[in-house]
């Protein structure tokens, strides 16, 4: 469990970081909760780590119109505990609170997690349900894209060489929206075997808005759009919800490993979806 030799730099501006990252073999370090273990296992060996922790602009949380702008280096613990997040985007706070343990949440960051694109991470369920956006800064400028478009494959994103994730944008939650993140952890790692995040609104006693994000089940997180569609217009009785949630894993190639078969994971996704929807409904006005 000893890594290879590497260089280390901790710049204090995004610009300086981008310059350092232009060097071959350099990789950004954004908390290190995944990268450092991979290095210790010698599964990866960057020549240089560019630690982003000293860049103040990456550590802020602020409101920008209808969105919350969350710097990439904001830790899970900050998201779990910040009053602004708890009030204005409770689903994100709940997602962050579900990650690992306190030590991990105090070191790991949302930008690091998003850029790592682990298919079993907690965030994707919530970020998909929130229709979050990812802010990128590169040598040629800044750009923004939907989180759903950003993750391409397991551990693969749309980040171009030399680019950094600099922020994640989530909407300020509409009052009256019920949200819930239902997680069934893999017993060893604590990562979700399946995690489902729901956002539900009701109008005149019927479901008028539903967003459902699923993580852990397959190679990347996804929106369960069929379930969302089935929910619209329903009163939200338990049988209706279960019926809708039964489509959660439809068409998804579920993962299989020593912890759970694909069939069990798919079933669990449907159960988790139903539970997250029911909990959201009970919280929705």
């Amino acid at each position: 469990m000893i890594s290879q030799e590497f260089d280390y730099a901790a710049p204090d501006t995004v610009q300086a970081a981008l310059e350092l990252l232009a060097e071959p073999g350099a990789r950004p370090l954004a908390g290190g909760m995944s990268l450092i273990p991979l290095m210790k296992l010698r599964l990866t060996a960057p020549e240089k780590l560019v630690d982003l922790r000293r860049i103040p602009s990456l550590r802020s949380i602020r409101r920008e119109g209808a969105f919350l702008h969350i710097g990439a280096m904001v830790t899970h613990y900050e998201l779990e505990s910040a009053p602004l997040i708890r009030q204005e985007c409770p689903l994100l706070a709940a997602s962050a609170a579900a990650i690992g343990d306190v030590q991990i949440r105090n070191s790991g960051t949302i930008g690091g997690s998003v850029a790592h694109a682990d298919p079993a991470a907690d965030y994707p369920a919530g970020l998909l349900a929130l229709e979050a956006r990812v802010h990128l800064t590169g040598p040629t400028g800044e750009r923004e894209m939907a989180f759903e478009e950003f993750v391409l494959d397991p551990f693969t994103t749309a980040i171009e060489p030399g680019e950094l994730v600099t922020a994640v944008l989530v909407p300020v939650e509409d009052p009256g929206t019920g949200v819930y993140y239902q997680k069934h952890p893999q017993p060893a790692s604590g990562f979700p075997m399946v995690g489902v995040a729901a956002r539900i609104r009701r109008q005149n006693g019927h479901i008028s808005f539903a967003r459902l994000g699923v993580t852990g089940l397959s190679g990347k997180g996804y929106r369960a759009r069929e379930v969302e569609a089935r929910l619209i217009g329903k009163a939200g009785a338990e049988a209706e919800v279960k019926d809708a949630a039964a489509a959660t894993a439809d068409g998804v190639e579920a993962s299989s490993d020593i912890h759970a078969s694909a069939a069990y994971r798919s079933h669990l996704a449907c159960v988790a979806a139903a539970r997250s929807i029911l909990r959201s409904l009970s919280a929705a006005n």
């Binding site: 469990m1 000893i2 069934h184 060893a188 020593i258 912890h259 669990l268």
Partner: protein, 776 residues
């Protein structure tokens, strides 16, 4: 035998915080990896990634060319060092040669193939990456039952049947018992392999001094003296020139009551290189190359009368041996046979153990070592019988228990249970949990579609290993008690505590016996150059055997103290009381400190008495001790997901006389947590060839704090007549009681669906699949 001190105890029986804790809490304890010797080199081991492979070529040139790398050794370079030893003899036991580096063939994933030594641990690891090994993979086998099938890949080509040994034991007319039985229940049960995973993994430093020809081995071990004798013999070092030091040891759970290739390797390297050489085990290496626990396939058959009386037991154990025999590997399943009847009166049994070689690292002692397996089996099959007969799980146990007046009780397996009151202990557990009301609640829950289970497990265990004729290396223990000139007390114990807290409990006993303050007693252990020969810490023997040795040394010292007291008081009418020798007539007295000063100053000596106050005792126990208890677990099973939640955990344990309730509570809590791990989460997984699938904590599920319920821990205290302290042992009890209690609870939750058994670990998928199958 004399009984405990007649004085009012000041410390024994009290909740006293551990003397050990300040140094651990403040980070000032010295563990193996904290030791830094001058000019020390560091070893990194190149390990096989194949379970079974032929080694075609090893190229060490690139590693040797790396600056900082001092040497690279392979199996071809071994000289002057023997094989990793097995300390067990059984008829027909096959002990494959176990060189410390692979010789042309690897037998398990993690098999040491080469070792790189560098002047820096990072460079050693870099060098290990540069050793090129060409392998030709061979078919391997990981499932012990499949290994015994005809045509299975041979782990050792010279033994194509993969049979390591067959051990049989029988008592009474088993065939008649089964022929005359009104009911017979049968069940196949699995005990998956589990990994010990102490917080501190293994590690060793070899330090050879060529000028003196002395060799010091620092090792994170439970058995420093045994390790010294064995390592000296394997390495050809005169035993008196070899020293083993066990520094602070961060847990062992049995896996460090062993002798490993790496311990011998660092000694070999130090002798070759004339430098101290350190090797520290990484967690991945721990999963690959440290002995693992359990690994049984059990076939139980129970013959009974319709009223629930057990008439006979048949058991076949297929023990996953692994690739080689570690120190006690083949002994462990034979202990399961000894404890096969549990707490029940039945003496008629037939048992067969078949050891199967597999392409996995060897199994060996793991908390409970054979007794948890036996307890699990008998407690599960008794539950199966109860369900079959429609008898309540508590009632069927009460019907078959050995009764208090039957002790000492000779079991059919050759043991003599020392003392017990099994029904009373179960009774307290039933009352505490509110058994009758719980059964009512369960009926209501079932009617409402909830799956609620109540599981009972009663257990007995063999502790205080043990009478020497029944142990592989001598079962006595030693202590030297020195009263210093100041009156302060130094105890050298032959046991080697690594978390059990004997620096505290022994000080409690010694302080009470001598009437001094606990602060004036220090317990020294773990260094063969300081402490007289001892056996070590395992098998819940520390206090029962080592504590008794200390107690007897103190008794010996007290005689001398009395002689000095009589001399100083100028009277023969003296007695020892509360740290003083007192004249019965006048009440005049002298303290132990005054006597100590006089004995070392030696201006005047009692007739025929030497100066100084030192006594040594080597105590040979006449029997094992037999703690027992009853655990009751209430579970809720989620019918949609199969997830198990423990809602109540009641443990009533009888470990004999309790020295320190705080330490006993810690042992029960830790043991129960470990048992919960085995029942619900832990399983070392391999593919069919022996490739590891759960080789790190991201895939091997240890129980976490949030998985452990509140444990309602109660005790009865039935003193053991085997030793003067009346203690029995408690280190393993929790790990023995928990697995059957939990599995019985979950099966009980599902029994109305027709489910009769589930194998550990009870993963959500396994439970859910069983529910689906039952409903289909």
């Amino acid at each position: 035998m004399s009984t405990v001190t007649t004085e009012t105890p000041t410390y024994v029986g009290k909740r006293i915080k551990r003397k050990e804790d300040p140094r651990m809490i403040t980070g000032t304890a010295t563990y193996l990896d904290d030791i830094k010797l001058p000019n020390m080199h560091f070893a990194a081991i190149v390990r096989s990634q194949y379970a079974a492979a032929r080694i075609d070529r090893i190229d060490t040139s690139a590693a040797l060319a790396l600056p900082g790398v001092v040497a690279v050794f392979t199996g071809a370079d071994l000289e002057g060092v023997g094989n990793v030893p097995c300390g067990v003899s059984l008829p027909g036991l096959r002990i494959p040669p176990h060189p410390i580096l692979a010789q042309g063939r690897t037998y398990f994933v993690g098999h040491p193939v080469a070792v790189v030594v560098a002047n820096d641990p990072y460079l050693a690891r870099d060098g290990a990456e540069l050793v090129e090994v060409e392998y030709t993979p061979q078919p391997g086998v990981s499932d012990p039952e499949k290994a015994l099938e005809p045509g299975a890949p041979a782990v050792h080509p010279e033994w194509p049947d993969n049979v390591a040994f067959v051990h049989k034991q029988e008592n009474g007319d088993v065939d008649a018992a089964f022929a005359g039985a009104e009911v017979i229940v049968k069940q196949r049960m699995l005990q998956p392999r589990v990994v010990a995973n102490p917080m501190e993994a293994r590690g060793a430093i070899g330090d050879y001094k060529s000028a003196e020809g002395t060799l010091t081995l620092h090792s994170s071990t439970q058995i420093p003296h045994l390790l010294r004798s064995i390592a000296a013999a394997v390495l050809g070092v005169p035993e008196h020139k070899m020293r083993v030091i066990a520094p602070e040891v961060g847990g062992g759970f049995g896996c460090k009551a062993d002798v490993y290739a790496e311990e011998l390797l660092v000694c070999f390297l130090s002798r070759k290189l004339a430098r101290p050489v350190k090797w520290v085990e990484g967690r991945r290496e721990h999963f690959q190359a440290t002995s693992q626990g359990r690994g049984h396939v059990d076939y139980y058959e129970l013959a009974a009368k319709r009223d629930g009386t057990i008439l006979g037991i048949k058991l076949k154990i297929i023990q996953d041996i692994g690739s080689h025999q570690q120190l006690l590997t083949p002994l462990i399943p034979t202990l399961s046979v000894l404890m096969l009847p549990g707490l029940y009166r039945c003496k008629t049994f037939r048992a067969e153990v078949v050891g199967a070689f597999t392409n996995c690292f060897p199994t060996d002692a793991y908390r409970g070592a054979g007794r948890p397996e036996a307890t699990y089996g008998i407690e599960r099959i008794v539950d199966c019988l109860a369900v079959e007969l429609g008898i309540d799980a508590a009632e069927i146990r009460l019907k078959n228990f050995i009764e208090p007046q039957e002790f000492p009780f000779s079991t059919g397996t050759g043991l003599i249970y020392d003392s017990g009151s099994y029904a009373a202990t179960l009774g307290i557990a039933l009352e505490t949990v509110g058994y009758a009301a719980l059964r009512e609640e369960q009926r209501a829950a079932r009617a409402a579609g909830r799956l609620m289970g109540i599981g009972i497990a009663t257990y007995g265990e063999i502790c205080a290993f043990g009478p020497s004729p029944y142990t592989p290396a001598g079962g006595w223990e030693s202590a030297t008690v020195r009263i210093e000139p100041s009156g302060q007390v130094t105890v050298h114990t032959g046991i080697s505590p690594h978390g059990q807290g004997e620096e505290t409990t022994f000080a409690q006993i010694a302080a009470d016996e001598l009437g001094v303050s606990m602060d004036d007693v220090v317990i020294v252990h773990g260094d063969t150059a300081i402490v007289q020969y001892g056996i070590g810490t395992f098998g819940s023997r520390g206090t029962a055997v080592g504590g008794t040795a200390m107690f007897l040394a103190i008794e010996e010292l007290k005689k001398k103290i009395l002689k000095y007291g009589a001399m100083l008081l100028e009277t023969e009418e003296v007695e020892f009381s509360a740290g003083r020798v007192v004249c019965n007539k006048t009440g005049a007295s002298v303290t132990v400190a005054q006597i100590a000063a006089a004995s070392y100053r030696a201006l005047k000596l009692p007739p025929g008495t030497e100066p100084g106050l030192v006594a040594t005792s080597f105590w040979e126990p006449t029997n094992f001790t037999f703690p027992f208890g009853a655990h009751i677990v209430v579970t809720d099973v989620d019918p949609d997901t199969g997830e198990v939640k423990i809602t109540r955990y009641v443990a009533v344990d009888d470990c004999g006389k309790i020295i320190n309730p705080l330490i006993v509570a810690g042992q029960i809590h830790g043991g129960v947590a470990q048992g919960i791990g085995q029942a619900l989460y832990e399983q070392m997984s391999y593919d069919e060839n022996g490739q590891i699938l759960s080789g790190e904590f991201t895939d091997y599920a240890m129980p976490k704090a949030a998985n452990i319920p509140f444990i309602e821990s109660l005790h009865t205290e039935t003193p053991s007549p085997v030793n003067p302290l009346g203690v029995k042992g408690v280190g393993e009890a929790g790990a023995i009681g928990a697995p059957p209690a939990i599995v019985n609870s979950v099966v009980d939750a599902l029994s109305h669906l027709g489910i009769r058994h589930l194998d550990m670990p009870l993963t959500p998928e396994k439970v859910w699949t069983a529910i689906q199958g039952a409903r289909a």
